[in-house]
Symmetry: C2
Subunit: 226 residues, 2 copies
């Protein structure tokens, strides 16, 4: 079922694009983003950043995961509880960043995630509802700020793009983040506790995840008891 | 993090005994039992059969997984709903079988699981509440029937042994079956859809599971979206 392969080689099945569903609020999604960024930069693997909303997925009005009735993209800006308002604001900024070149979009996405989950020393955790906080991250990450502002102004387009991601993830049955949707069709939530940034370790971890999904036993779940 | 290893070799960390928590009612536990039986017979790996009860784990009175208040072993024989009565009767028979030599105990455990999840052609699914059905499996599996009857008669000892398993699994936070508790302390639910009985494939699958648990990233969950 599994074949040993030379260390630090990408598996042949990984030549297409993997969709990475993430939520800025989720600490495991942040680890998944860091992993994907290493794989992208150091090993040439291709990932597409896509949004899945935990507050939408867990909303009381959405018991049927595949057919939500409450949509985050339909929420009025600034309304809802803290998690809802933070999610929407971060996702809309994220969608605006995705209109720029890959490296800048990734830098912003990672920057915003780190600001939530690994704030720099002496800096508090970012308030994602605060537009000036979000713009600080955009400036640090190398986005074209003029374009960023222009894209942010077109809320309708950003909400439509967010809706596409939320619709796609709902249809696929995504329930948590990070979830990776491989080019070969396999799709699974992948939660790990330790940050992995060393390039060889990152690729080994990624290959291990792929082997689990591709194994002939059709592994559906590995989940630690706690 | 992961090292390629020669195909079909057991990993060095697997010299101790792995506890396999299972429930006769669970189709995935059955696949886990079949896997462990191949590993045991063909590769010399050591497993201890232990009981985890899904009806206890999911009981409305047991919201705190680690501290159940409703215990299956405290249920009066024949009482409760079908799943509860079936579970208790099967577990008590299973505990009686575990008093006999390993190969006979495994044959009975597998025989009873197959009778539920893969009944022989022309044979209906077994009713685990029916003692004569259970005794048929015991006879086919090579148990010493006289001893089996004697052990079955000591309900108090069987319930105490069952309680030990249920207590151990609760303390460990087991939530589903099959769950494997490795000699090195890692413990995780492992669900796969396809029966694996070919010895090489079985060992590859097992090694893959172990690698996931031992990886330095501390993988907590891999779970497919559906």
């Amino acid at each position: 079922m599994t074949q040993p392969d030379p260390a630090h080689q990408t598996l042949p099945s990984q030549s297409g694009v993997t969709d990475l569903y993430f939520d800025f609020l989720c600490p495991y999604a942040w680890r998944g983003l860091e992993l994907a960024d290493v794989l992208r930069r150091e090993h040439g693997l291709k990932f597409r950043l896509r949004h899945f909303s935990l507050v939408q997925g867990n909303h009381a009005d959405n018991p049927d995961r595949k057919h939500p009735t409450w949509w985050l993209d339909g929420q009025v800006a600034g309304q809802g509880n803290e998690s809802q308002a933070s999610s929407l604001n971060a996702f809309l900024a994220g969608q605006a960043a995705l209109k720029q070149p890959d490296d800048a979009a990734w830098a912003f996405t990672l920057g915003l995630s780190r600001a939530v989950h690994q704030p720099a020393e002496g800096r508090g955790r970012i308030d994602l509802r605060n537009d000036s906080d979000v713009r600080d991250v955009a400036a640090e990450g190398g986005l074209d700020l003029e374009q960023f502002e222009a894209d942010l102004a077109d809320q309708e387009a950003l909400r439509a793009a967010l809706h596409d991601d939320l619709q796609a993830s709902a249809s696929l049955g995504v329930f948590g983040t990070p979830t990776f949707h491989l080019p070969d069709g396999h799709i699974a939530y992948f939660r790990f506790a330790n940050l992995v940034t060393e390039p060889g370790a990152a690729l080994d971890l990624w290959n291990l995840y792929i082997r689990v999904l591709q194994d002939g036993a059709r592994i559906e779940t590995v989940k630690r008891a706690k």
